[in-house]
Symmetry: C2
Amino acid sequence: MNILFKALNDGTRREILEMLKEQDMTAGDIADRFNITKPSISHHLDLLKQAELVTAVKEGQFIYYSLNTTVMDEVLKWVVQFTKTKKKS
Amino acid sequence: MNILFKALNDGTRREILEMLKEQDMTAGDIADRFNITKPSISHHLDLLKQAELVTAVKEGQFIYYSLNTTVMDEVLKWVVQFTKTKKKS
DNA sequence: ATAATATTTAGACATTTGCCTAAATATACA
DNA sequence: TGTATATTTAGGCAAATGTCTAAATATTAT
């Protein structure tokens, strides 16, 4: 849970997740969309990978990153407990 | 969104939210449940307040903190976009 | 084998974070 | 008025974070 919220606590990383929601992308393609150096993006991707929010598959000299939606279910479950607190009126 | 994830990115703060889900509490009562000094808890409460995850009401010399569930809906909305991506098979 | 491309690893640096102690503020009570 | 209680504000400090440049690794193409 901790590592998950930590991974989500950064705008760049959240944007990466939103990009990967649309399509799988290589590390380079992801980096090209930000005004941040490739090593920095690589580090962000590593954190997302540690949190298992993304998976990485090497294909030749490229590494394709994909979203792993199942982990989000955990976050969802945690958040939901605070929202479904409605009382009958 | 940023300040929200920032507020949630701490175990102590998430625990406070879970406590407040059960009942409103004073700053002191909250602090008593942790092995952290009152000033530190006060700081955590301030962050939660900034994120509007909690509200504070002063009653005499006490300050009662309550959960504000409506803000969680925003988080929920953000998270859900990643979970409802199931395809028909 | 050498060069080019894709990506990561390593190391440095400034900023942010979470914690602490000490002091300040505000209310209640004797 | 003076003292105890509840909470916050201020200032300091070590650890974590996000960024960068330079170097290392791996793959592809000449």
